[in-house]
């Protein structure tokens, strides 16, 4: 064994993790090499000095300063959902959805699938238009009621009667006008319904 190899083994020698044959070779080298023997002794002293280094005392007030420094920063709080699906289950669900979509298209054909989607869009627009019309009527009622009340506060009873009569006529007109029917081809439909009908008609002519 040469000196370089002996140096490489000093840690293992110190902690007793050398193979017995290698340990015997090393001890034989150290017995015959004064420089390596001295180095091995100094090596042990260094490790002992490092291991016996006492824990240092923290400066006074450091703990308080460190705690306050942390408190001064806004803490990010992680909000976890109560139940999380495993990734593999999400991937499997996405895969199944794709397969189902592919199977549906294969069965009904791309044209029928497109028509079904157009019908769905048309019905959605019709429902939205009906809701908008109801909202407009409600606003009109509120406005008329506001006029009636303000006239009553002013003490002009004859004007109140006139406004009430106006409101009655408005209600009669509404009764005479049919409610929007979400049926194809109706001329009395509101613009949104007509637009939906035009959409459907256009889609039908295109196919």
């Amino acid at each position: 064994m040469d000196c370089h190899r002996a140096e490489e083994l000093l840690s293992d020698r110190l902690f007793g993790s050398l193979h017995p044959i290698l340990a015997a070779e090393l001890e034989a080298h150290l017995a015959g090499c004064e420089a390596c023997r001295q180095l091995a002794e100094a090596f042990a002293e260094v490790v002992a000095a490092l291991h016996s280094a006492p824990e240092l005392d923290a400066p006074v007030g450091l703990a308080e300063r460190a705690a306050l420094a942390a408190l001064a920063r806004p803490r990010t709080i992680e909000i976890r959902p109560a139940f999380v699906l495993p990734h593999w289950l999400n991937a499997a669900a996405a895969g199944l959805a794709l397969i189902a979509l592919g199977a549906t298209l294969a069965l009904v054909g791309p044209e029928r699938g497109a028509r079904a989607a157009q019908r769905l869009v048309g019905q959605t627009v019709t429902a939205g238009s009906g809701l908008m019309e109801r909202k407009d009527r409600l606003l009109e009622d509120v406005r008329v009621l506001g006029v009636v009340l303000s006239t009553a506060f002013e003490g002009r009873i004859e004007r109140v009667n006139e406004r009430v009569n106006d409101y009655k006529r408005l209600l009669e007109r509404r009764k005479a006008t049919p409610q929007p029917e979400p049926k194809q081809g109706s001329e009395t439909r509101p613009p949104g319904v007509q637009m939906a009908a035009a959409f459907r008609t256009g889609a039908g002519s295109g196919s």
Partner: protein, 203 residues
């Protein structure tokens, strides 16, 4: 209240597991008690890495800011809180050490603080030798290149296993063992060199 120091009796009887739920719930007093319990260890580690008290104080504060921010990530199943906290501190210290390597090379360091504990009934001459040896070892430690110094600090001053050091520094296990042996050899050669100088001066 900012200036209030947690009562010593409370600190002696409370444990991490008592304090952690309160800390997570936003109890500032519990957080301050938790910091008080662990400051000494974190500061000790920071000082070993930086070699300067002021820098070690800054590093200690940064570690606790980081711990406070990531407290929700700690799970009891991962092991004792103290070990988790020291791992956070160690990783932060390693990053800090790597970042400031060049700046560190230009500046002076604090006087030697590393001292060895005196043996019982130690002879005064033996005590002086021990202190001189400790000074030499510590000075030599500072002079080591980072690739030798970091694993040596983690092994001989922090008591980590070779496996843990390899994981922390992201280097192969064989490299860690080799570097630690080389670092010890460097320090041993310095110590021998100094002894030879002294012996030469005395003769």
């Amino acid at each position: 209240m900012a200036g209030e120091i947690p009562c010593l009796q409370v600190l002696l009887t409370t444990t991490d597991s008592d304090l952690l739920p309160a800390c997570r719930g936003g109890d500032d007093a519990a957080w301050r008690s938790l910091v008080e319990l662990h400051t000494r260890k974190v500061f000790g580690l920071a000082y070993r890495f930086t070699g300067r008290v002021d820098e070690a104080e800054d590093l200690t504060q940064e570690v606790f800011v980081k711990v406070y921010q990531t407290l929700h990530k700690y799970r009891e199943a991962d092991g004792p809180f103290g070990a988790w906290l020291m791992a956070v501190a160690r990783n932060h210290a390693i990053d800090h050490y790597r970042r400031g390597r060049q700046e560190r090379a230009r500046r002076t360091e604090d006087p030697i603080v590393l001292e060895t504990a005196p043996a019982r009934e130690e002879h005064p001459i033996a005590g002086l030798e021990r202190e001189e040896r400790a000074r030499l070892v510590h000075r030599g430690l500072r002079a080591l290149p980072p690739e030798l110094r970091l694993p040596l600090i983690l092994c001989d001053l922090q008591g980590l296993s070779y496996d843990e050091i390899a994981k922390s520094l992201e280097v192969p296990l064989g490299t860690v063992k080799s570097r630690i042996n080389r670092a010890r050899l460097e320090l041993a050669k310095r110590l021998l060199g100094r002894r030879h100088e002294l012996a030469g001066g005395a003769s």
